[in-house]
Symmetry: C2
Subunit: 559 residues, 2 copies
């Protein structure tokens, strides 16, 4: 079997028709949901690309792998999904984005050349690379944001788009009065991107995926990782004009949220992106473009599904659809992601397993609390392996995929955010070390804990599903807060780094040192089996010491 692990960047959990979006029709997402299981309570380990993805790709919490923000290198030697899958005989390929930054210093320390097979995997987050394109080819006075080569830019050049950076000049720009209308500016979000639709990013990567499935033998896991609907919010025709102002929902926000907000939330509300999305004119420009980008993703997904079906590959390919985090789009007076309301931290997740064992669950939903780190464990089990639970911190979702209900399941999910690299840290007077936030959510109560001396926030999603009312200072909630803090403490003490020894390794070796000659606690040797001590019973061959011991002997003369 193969695994097609598809990720859309910044796709909100609720911007799909199968998830109930009132205007956006996504028949191809829905088509996979109808054949598989749709998970409705899946949370990312961090609502930011880099940290979240490193959790997907390692199956470990952000505090466990340490790559806590975009561009923080994943340290050399961290064990990845690719390592686990190769161990059970499945190759693991990358097509698209990871946001991985190589630990160049660590690689140099270990003498790993980036152009060796091993070095390349270390640099590409454990994947073998079919095409890597992180999709952010910004170029400014200090050079490129991303210093790698962009295969997408090379593709555009081969198609006749001119300049060094057609990603910026065509795929992510429109035209107005003969001038560039940059996709970076929200005012241009309603313009069509200045590119042939079939040359834009999502179709290009879909074509790469089709080429991949045709050319590469399995079993493989292919991480097909689209940059869209991530900003820049601009989409080629006809998608730019498919949705209008009447499709833009009211922002999920309440004036109460602006009154004496928690200091950290208050700082987020003042950020540039929040200020922009607080403007209705911005939302009316951006959200239709965001929806158009998703619609294009859906059409391209349909193209890929059709190809898999036409070639018979849909019958032996597990298909997984998900996202690395959501997008506030003005909800809660915020833009982007980066905080812990549902719009940001909750993701879509759909899993289709072609095997008969999953027949009983097709078209169902699963409401269990699930985490993005569960996918790595799921894929190892799907590939026929045993989940190495001393390394992978998530749990396999395969029981749910087969329609089974595990006897015991997690009671809470955890997500983290390290805002040390953002302007919020200095604005709040918080050191990089203390600029960390932890969310604990048990399905009803959501606690947000801040390092750095701030009070916690608390939402009750049962009585306040919109998350407008921060109960963090409500004395009536003290016992709930304490209970969630107990979860957080238990989580903080989890066994996360004993990655070189499994529980079964331990059980197997327990108590065996005696059979390797370590007998430290014997009074006279009668305590253990005779074969362990028999060699200590024999005649001393050479004698170097005076007898009896009670008299102070001379030093070291051989008798």
């Amino acid at each position: 079997m193969n695994i097609l692990f598809i990720m859309y960047d910044q796709l909100r959990f609720d911007y799909l028709s199968c998830a109930g979006h009132p205007h956006l029709h996504t028949p191809n997402f829905d088509r996979v949901a109808a054949k598989g299981v749709r998970f409705t309570n899946t949370y990312v380990q961090s609502p930011i690309c880099g940290a979240s993805r490193m959790s997907f790709y390692t199956g470990r919490y952000v505090s466990s792998h340490g790559a806590q923000w975009n561009g923080y290198p994943l340290r050399v030697g961290e064990i990845t999904l690719g390592d686990h899958l190769r161990e059970v005989g499945m190759n693991c390929w990358l097509l698209g984005k990871t946001h991985m930054k190589a630990d160049a210093k660590g690689m140099a320390r270990l003498g790993l050349a980036p152009d060796s097979v091993i070095g390349a995997r270390q640099a590409d987050c454990g994947f073998d690379t079919w095409a890597r394109d992180d999709g952010l080819w910004g170029f400014g006075p200090d050079g490129y944001y991303d210093e790698k080569r962009s295969p997408y830019n090379e593709y555009l050049k081969s198609k006749g788009y001119d300049g060094d950076n057609p990603w910026s000049d065509y795929a992510n720009a429109g035209v107005e009065d003969g001038n560039i209308a940059s996709g970076w500016m929200f005012q241009n979000a309603d313009k069509p991107a200045n590119i042939r639709e079939e040359d834009s990013e999502t179709p290009w990567l879909t074509s790469e995926a089709i080429r991949f499935v045709d050319e590469v033998d399995g079993p493989w896991c292919a991480h097909l990782s689209f940059i869209k609907p991530h900003w820049p919010y601009i989409v080629p025709a006809p998608y730019h004009a498919m949705y209008g102002q009447n499709h833009v929902p009211q922002a999920l926000r309440d004036k109460a949220e602006l009154k004496a907000p928690h200091p950290v939330l208050g700082a987020y509300q003042k950020s540039a992106v929040a200020q922009a999305f607080q403007r209705d004119d911005v939302r009316r420009k951006v959200i239709p473009a965001y929806m158009g980008l998703i619609k294009q993703c859906d059409d391209q997904l349909g193209r890929l599904l059709d190809h898999l079906e036409a070639t018979g590959k849909a019958e032996d390919t597990m298909i997984v659809l998900t996202s690395d985090h959501g997008d506030y789009l003005g909800d809660h007076w915020l833009g982007e992601k980066d905080f812990f309301h549902e719009a940001s931290v909750k993701i879509p997740l759909i899993i289709y397993d072609p095997r008969a064992s999953a027949d009983g669950a097709r078209g169902t939903i699963c409401e269990a609390l699930t985490e993005s780190i569960d996918l790595a464990a799921t894929f190892v089990e799907a590939a026929g392996g045993e989940v190495p639970d001393h390394i992978l911190e998530g749990r396999s979702l395969m029981p749910w995929v087969r329609g089974e209900t595990p006897e015991k399941w997690r009671e809470f999910v955890v997500s983290e955010y390290d805002y040390g690299s953002t302007p919020r840290a200095p604005a709040l007077g918080v050191s990089a070390r203390d600029a960390r936030i932890f969310m604990v959510f048990d399905g009803r109560w959501k606690l947000i804990h801040f390092e750095g001396g701030f009070r916690p926030m608390l939402f009750d999603l049962q009585t306040d599903p919109s998350e407008f009312i921060d109960l963090g200072e409500d004395p009536a909630c003290a016992s709930e807060i304490a209970r969630l803090y107990d979860y957080l403490r238990a989580w903080g003490l989890r066994l996360a780094q004993r990655v070189t020894v499994s529980d079964s390794d331990i059980a197997e070796k327990r108590g065996k040192s005696g059979r390797r000659g370590i007998l430290p606690f014997l009074v006279d040797g009668s305590e253990v089996a005779p074969e362990l001590v028999e060699k200590y019973r024999g005649h001393a061959r050479q004698i170097y010491t005076v007898q009896p011991a009670e008299t102070a002997p001379e030093e070291g003369d051989k008798l």
Copy 2:
């Protein structure tokens, strides 16, 4: 400057005359203490060799490096003291024991050959190896406990000691009636080891150290790591007869400790070693041998100090004396180490800095709460480096060494123990994952937290310095327990794995992505400096899209 980092294995904090031992005279330890600072509240990160040492050698808590018990490999790529010191131009050598087990699987994954320089460092805990001898050359029906080569055994063979394993047959055995009297058996502890004193382990390694300081150019850090006074408890003449029953103190134990003990402590009290040390005849045999081993260590330290002074090297060599944990010796009805009473978890620590900057502190003591992980940070500072506090979790002791009092110091120490590999785990019905204990000590209150659903233990060392009274269930102590649990939670959430990015890296890069062309939150571009957006203002060179955008355009035709 050089650093001579000397470790004695299983040396109790109070078995030195400078620490107040009533019978054991250790003039050479005292001689270093008189020239340096003696730390009287230093705790190991785990009261067991392997885990404790990995914390010394990485400067990180056990839960951070993951090598939680003897023989659990330190994972490949974990950054060591050696890595830090080489970065500031100091070589880092090993003479003696580390108890490091290589992460062979991780090394294979990264293609690291054990016989390469880099591979050897990975396998030897970051050290360059002058002589590695872990000092436990047990051999039983299933082979050697330690599969490496023993340079000490080779030395003994070269001296004419016969057989495959003279470590066992001579260095750690006596003779009785012409038969081997194994050092493994406590009943033989009062016999002299069947070896010339100068050929026993401590003098052998001291000779290696003298050869090292004569032959190797600095600056170096040399980890001189003695196996003794660790068991087997047997010592050559004349040390075997220097101490007698009148030098054996009463065990620090109280019958109340045996009444309804905490279940985990109760399991420890039932262990083979505890049962043995509960017998006074065992204590009367073993403790004089233990003292003799320490006395021999002291004499050999004197020999080394004399050599350093005679060669002038004492003037540019920092000398550090410490241990990896203590030894219960029957206190609290226990033997060995492995639990959190002072006899086990507290260690001696003496630091002599030859530089004039330390003159004001010579011969003083420091009572601050210190941890074994502080040494790695101390050595980096002593070597002239800046402490990489995103990797090293300890704090440099150099201010204390210079007699300064840092403005802020830690409020508590943490130590951990993973007993999953011991018979206690199955005896208590606890899984390997849950067989973990955490100690939090704030200088007065010592909380011991158990995973696996047990209640905590609590000692008040102010009113109960002997640690006889477990207050873990005392309602009057609820607020102290809660306060210490808050420390534990904060510690559990510490920033431990963001090892590839420092706080200053973060501060330096903060807010600079705009200058690399990432401009995601602009409404119209007026929000930023003109040079960041000027390239988006120009004439569109090629146009691929129909204007105006408001009409649904044709796909992709170039106009």
